[in-house]
Amino acid sequence: MSGRPDNAAIIVTGAARGIGAASVQELAADGWAVAVLHRNGRGDAETLAQQIVDAGGRAIPIRADLREPAEVEQAFEAAQQELGPVLGLVNNAGVRADNLALSISDEDWQLVLDTNLSAAFRLTRRAMRGMLRARFGRIVNVASVVGPRANPGQANYAASKAGLIGMTKTVAAEVARKGVTVNAVAPGFIATEMTKDVPPEVLEAVPARRAGQPQEVAACVRFLASDAAAYVTGTTLYVDGGMSA
């Protein structure tokens, strides 16, 4: 069992804000060099990366539209060149385009599946090359409680997140013996920009009776990406205040 090499880098997608940004901070604090991937959060991503550098860490912002395979490849190469071997990946980027299934357009179906699932697959496939050779890798997919359970109005989102969990399990089983772990976290109702329009009544379904904070999800991401989690793979860690209990 090998530990994380000193110069290892980790890519976090959707990293400018919310759970992504909190994960960047936790991972940098744990010694990872972090590539802060964003699509339209340039200012936030630059500020975040600078904060990490000022604190003595290593981080760079990289802009990429993950729906474009060529941009995924370019972002990966940039991270590797600037920071070192990419041996960690947090697939966090996600979008919502809610509607009842009857009314979801092909475009809104595709947008959500492309961003939340296909992009995660492409990055995972790319990252595994180096991870397998290094006999070390950590992949954490940010799924959701929606997917394993129903949420009317989110058929596209639920399909993407359930798909992410399915991909997590299978890829984990494929590469486990090479020192690469693949896990998911499944956040419940977390207070971020993405959930600001969710009605507060939703909290009634949360045993903890409060929304989670991005840092509470990020702490789990940090653990799953750490050496301490070397024997944890293929699992989904629910971070939902008991919602799925």
């Binding site: 090359r129 397998l132 050779r133 494929e174 590469v175 013996r177 090479k178």
Partner: protein, 81 residues
């Protein structure tokens, strides 16, 4: 570069990779089957990536299925360089 040198170089890359995958070095030779060396489909996928990076040779899934021995792989790489 002569074909002999090419073959020797590719042979070295393949042997080294197989060792990394955990194959017993004393059993690695051209006639050894991947099955006997306990080299599985994930190892062969990794070997494909190494070969692609070093020699620019791309394996299709169907190509990999047809490779039964170490010699098969070496010959395929040299022929497609």
């Amino acid at each position: 570069m002569s074909t002999t040198t090419d073959t020797a170089q590719v042979e070295q890359t393949v042997y080294k990779s197989l060792e990394t995958f955990g194959a017993d070095p004393s059993e690695i030779n051209r006639d050894a089957s991947f099955e006997a060396l306990d080299v599985d489909s994930l190892d062969l996928a990794e070997l494909s990536q190494i070969v692609e990076d070093e020699y620019g040779v791309k394996f299709k899934s169907s190509d990999v299925e047809n490779l039964k021995t170490v010699g098969d792989a070496i010959d395929f790489i040299v022929a497609n360089k």
